[in-house]
């Protein structure tokens, strides 16, 4: 044992030294290429570019115009799917938002109104009470009342109508795909890279093809939402099924369950806690994208935020943004509680009591809905929240920002210019001047060191593809924006995380703050920074930092709090000071976790960068956005893929690094 240990240590030293030399040589080659190189290794030759945009664009045209299964075309199929989704959407939207209309669209006449706001709040409150008691009921009622009070009710119902269709579809599809991948390793191998792309290609990039295939309107928005929100469900399903104790599966086989019974009667119920986390992710992501979805006709709260952004009406944007957060919390807590309640239904024998006694909540809900419906015939306030009672903070925010601008304009400008001139612009120049071949080489070398030759092929290959498809300069701009934003987020987030972990009293407050930061739609962050700093790189970075801060804080705090207490005891016993304990023991052990937090920060930063293109950056995000405006599928997809490639490279490198460190520290 001891002998094996020492040989291993020796080998590690050797390989450590080997890497050092390898990096030295690679670094020297890189610098030489950078200073003295010219021609194709520095600027990727136009002639050798892969015409990816044209190929993708043509493929899309072919899909839309020609692809066919014989009796029906591909577009017939997608339109058929759209029509299928249209049915439940029509029901939910009639019920919640528009009421029953004679014909669709604005020309129709309302035959029957949608559910009154009082009734809906009451029904949701009852559901909360039934599932988890009065605390949940109170939370649900308060949040929904908040939405009504700030005049967001109608918009919120439009959003809710599409969310209640998109979320179950996303959960079910994700679950089925997860079950399939769990059962068939081959399916998993095919699906995993697809899921990676679905999670990293910005939504903007596939809005155009979705529009072509499914048509403009809420259904296309639902499809885009599902594409975006489903992957975590699939991943978490596979993970949850794998984590079910082996004995539970053996039990299923031992009682002679058929494969189907084993899956649906034993494994899925036993995996429920993990599956619920998946469902929670679907809800959160669906609400994350309502704004983008509103660009292709979803309407609702997203449309409000987007409109507010265009008018730079921060107050309304913030209120609509918080309405989205409120809706997310209500849906999440309520669905989790109801699922738990349904799962643990106590056994009931034959029940001969009356309908009311058996289903008191259902009956009360129906009575409430009908009662409010009837009352609204007499008093309109029952139907829609009276305008007179609505609040708005719009003027307050406008005045606050105006006041800051009037009083601190010069200081803000000076601050911005200082950073631009001394940090941002030089860094951007530097990155743009790097030779593509050298960068590809270094990225590949990092892959080789951290994860072996497979990872090297992946990171090297993907970065080469970025160059080969003519996206290099834009990609480097993206790297520059993202890099600075992530660095700043880490500089702010990690200390906050440390503080929250060291002073546990602070943690609940910090947690609530970062939960809100993460659910608040990314667009909301754009408004105040644009109003203070106008458009440009600086503004974009600031917005990205705000949006991407949460995981840096969360993972740091989690990592520190998870450090094995016996190790801390041991450190204390050895007489370390508090500072030594933190730096020498805790931070060291929490390092892999902090790395993963940084990884998440990078992912969020990249997704936010696409949105900041709205405020005039010149990176891949802008490329995607322009493609959206021009409905250019090829351009959008290629730029979107380039962003995805950057994300995947960063993710794989950091994950491999964290895994290695973890193994080295002896954390499993």
């Amino acid at each position: 044992m001891a002998l094996a240990d020492t040989t291993q240590i020796a080998r590690r030293r050797l390989s450590g030294g080997g890497w050092w030399v390898a990096w030295l040589i690679a670094g020297a080659a890189f610098v030489a290429l950078w200073w003295f190189g010219s021609g194709w290794p520095v600027d990727y030759p136009k002639a050798a570019q892969v015409p990816a945009m044209r190929v993708v664009g043509d493929a899309m045209k072919w899909l839309v115009n020609e692809a066919s299964f014989g009796i029906f075309s591909f577009v017939d199929l997608t339109r058929f799917i759209a029509a299928l989704i249209e049915v439940p959407y029509w029901i939910s939207s009639s019920l919640l938002a528009t009421g029953l209309m004679t014909t669709a669209g604005s020309a129709g006449v309302q035959i029957f109104p949608p559910v009154s706001w009082i009734a809906l709040i009451g029904v949701l409150g009852l559901a909360g009470y039934w599932a988890a008691g009065w605390r949940l009921a109170a939370l649900v009622v308060a949040l929904m009342a908040f939405i009504a009070l700030f005049g967001q009710w109608t918009a919120a119902m439009v959003t809710l109508a599409s969310i209640v269709i998109a979320v179950p579809l996303g959960v079910i599809l994700g679950l089925l795909l997860g079950v399939l991948s769990y059962r068939a390793p081959l399916v998993e191998r095919v699906i995993t890279p697809l899921l990676d792309l679905m999670q990293t290609v910005p939504v903007f990039a596939y809005l155009v093809p979705v529009l072509f295939l499914f048509g403009f309107g809420p259904t296309a928005a639902i499809v885009a939402t599902i594409i975006y929100a489903m992957p975590p469900m699939t991943r978490l399903t596979v993970h949850a099924l794998r984590s079910v104790p082996a004995e539970i599966d053996e039990l299923g086989r031992m009682v002679g369950a058929t494969p189907r019974q084993r899956m649906w009667r034993v494994m899925i119920p036993a995996a429920m806690p993990g599956l619920m986390i998946g469902a929670n992710q679907v809800i959160m992501l669906s609400l994350n994208i309502v704004i983008i979805a509103s660009m292709i006709g979803a309407g609702g709260l997203g449309f409000e935020v987007l409109g507010a952004l265009r008018r730079l009406d921060f107050g309304v944007g913030l209120e609509a943004g918080f309405a989205i957060v409120a809706l997310a919390i209500v849906l999440d807590r309520l669905s989790q509680a109801v699922a738990t309640k349904l799962q643990f239904q106590p056994h009931r024998g034959e029940d001969r009591r009356s309908l009311i006694a058996r289903h008191p909540y259902l009956v009360a809900s129906i009575v409430l809905a009908l009662g409010c419906g009837l009352l609204s015939l007499v008093e309109a306030g029952f139907q829609t929240f009276p305008a007179a009672g609505q609040l708005s903070t719009g003027s307050f925010w406008a005045e606050l920002i105006a006041w800051i601008n009037v009083n601190f304009f010069t200081q803000l400008e000076a601050f911005k210019d200082f950073l631009l001139l001394n940090l941002l612009i030089p860094l951007k120049r530097l990155l743009l001047s790097l030779p593509w071949l050298g960068v590809v080489g270094l990225v590949a070398l990092a892959g080789l060191q951290l994860g072996g030759w497979r990872l090297m092929l992946l990171t090297g290959g993907l970065s080469f593809l970025i160059a080969a498809t003519g996206q290099w300069e834009k990609a480097m701009t993206t790297v520059y924006l993202c890099g600075i934003a992530v660095a700043v987020a880490a500089l702010i987030g990690i200390p906050i995380g440390i503080l929250a972990a060291e002073k546990r009293r602070l943690w609940p407050a910090v947690q609530a703050m970062i939960d809100t930061l993460q659910t608040l739609p990314s667009f909301v962050y754009l408004m105040p920074v644009v109003m203070l700093f106008r458009v440009g790189d600086f503004t974009a970075i600031l917005a990205v930092v705000l949006y991407a801060l949460a995981p840096a804080i969360r993972y740091t705090a989690h990592g520190l709090m998870q450090v094995d207490p016996t190790l801390i005891e041991a450190g204390r016993a050895a007489g370390t000071t508090r500072w030594q304990l933190l730096t020498k023991v805790k931070l060291k052990l929490a390092f892999p976790e902090i790395m993963l937090g940084l990884n998440q920060t990078i992912m969020l930063a990249l997704s936010m960068l696409v949105i900041t293109a709205l405020v005039g950056t010149r990176d891949l995000g802008q490329e995607v956005y322009i493609a959206l405006a021009k409905a250019d599928t090829g351009r959008g997809i290629v730029a979107g893929l380039a962003i995805a490639f950057i994300a995947i490279i960063a993710d794989r490198l950091i994950s491999a690094g964290a895994r290695r460190t973890k193994a080295r520290l002896g954390l499993k």
Partner: protein, 342 residues
């Protein structure tokens, strides 16, 4: 418990092997069923079970004992084909299970086998009643019938009144009672228990062992019971198989093993056992030489039970079988020797 001497063989393992690792099957096939440690090392294979042959008789309590990692769980799972053996034969009621189709295995497991798991494997979302009825539900038996049966079993294991509880609301011992009731719901012919009491506190474990003895005296199942606790093995077994590194190193009745451990590994277990509580008079008795005795003792009595029967000056006791016929005699010195050995 008595040893069913010539009862029918319920389950037989013939040279069963289970190897873990890449290409285990082909390495095994090439070797012709005999692999040395060196060969296993060379192919980086882990031997879960190595060349195990044993017979379990109808109505017998067969205990497999061994240290953690010795291959007990793997062996018991090979017996029900939860784990596919790499080689050998598993013969159940005369049928080679390794040749059975998936469909046939489902039938066998549904109606003829039951299993209790070390970590309970209760389904958290089901009540006690539904957990116990679960194997029947899987078979598609209607609700009224399966719940009637489940209630009987819950009563039998002493959990009456807790039908509506969920597993998380029960203590460890109670949870394992649910596991036991569930495994019995299909009235299995062959009952597997993989360390059912190992996760319990020592006091509760003792209580559950007593409970198990009581159940078995009512049910008379054919049992394969796994444990790493030699005392538990002695209390519950008709016969014990002792495993080490995937091999069975000795099979025998508790007293055979206590009196004649096959190797130092087995002797290390028997070392601390009070022999007087294990060894029966039948194992020590000599042929009756016609001398006068001071009383009678059953052949199934342990030495500890026989000791007080010796009067102040009696030199020997007559040993009688279940029918009352004299089968031999046992002398005072023999008993004293065993008692002094501890």
């Amino acid at each position: 418990m008595t040893i069913p001497t010539d009862a029918a063989v319920k389950l037989e393992c013939r040279s069963v092997w289970k190897l873990f690792g890449h290409h285990a099957a082909s390495v095994y096939r090439v070797s012709g069923g005999q692999l040395s440690d060196a060969q296993l090392n060379e192919h980086q294979l882990i031997a879960g079970v190595r060349d195990v042959s044993l017979k379990v008789h109808e109505g017998e309590s067969f205990v497999i004992m061994g240290l953690s990692g010795s291959g007990k769980s793997t062996l018991v799972r090979c017996m029900s084909r939860l784990i596919e053996p790499t080689g050998g034969e598993i013969v159940f009621n005369g049928e080679n299970l390794l040749a059975a189709s998936d469909k046939r295995m489902i039938e066998v497991r549904r109606h003829q086998m039951g299993m209790v798991f070390q970590h309970l494997a209760l389904l958290p979302q089901l009540s006690v009643l539904a957990n116990v009825a679960f194997p029947l539900e899987i078979q598609g038996i209607d609700r009224a019938r399966r719940e009637r049966r489940a209630r009987e079993l819950i009563e039998l294991v002493g959990l009456g009144g807790r039908e509506a509880f969920f597993p998380r609301e029960l203590s460890g011992g109670q949870q394992q009672r649910v596991g036991i009731a569930r495994s019995l719901s299909v009235e299995p012919e062959l009952w597997f228990l993989d360390e059912p009491f190992s996760a319990l506190d020592p006091l509760i474990r003792r209580e559950m062992q007593d409970e198990f003895i009581r159940l078995q005296s009512v049910l008379r199942k054919t049992i394969v019971f796994i444990t790493h606790d030699f005392d538990e093995a002695i209390r519950l077994a008709d016969r014990i198989a002792i495993m080490k590194d995937g091999r069975v190193v000795q099979i025998g009745t508790p007293e055979e093993i206590v009196l004649r451990p096959a190797d130092p590994y087995v002797a290390a277990f028997t070392h601390n056992v009070a022999k007087a509580k294990v060894v029966r008079t039948s194992a020590l008795m000599r042929p009756h030489d016609g001398r006068s005795t001071s009383g009678r003792v059953p052949a199934t009595a342990t030495i500890a039970q026989a000791a007080p029967l010796f009067g102040p000056e009696a030199g020997a006791l007559e040993v009688v079988d279940a029918a009352g016929a004299i089968v031999g005699l046992i002398e005072r010195e023999q008993v004293v020797t065993v008692l002094l050995e501890g």
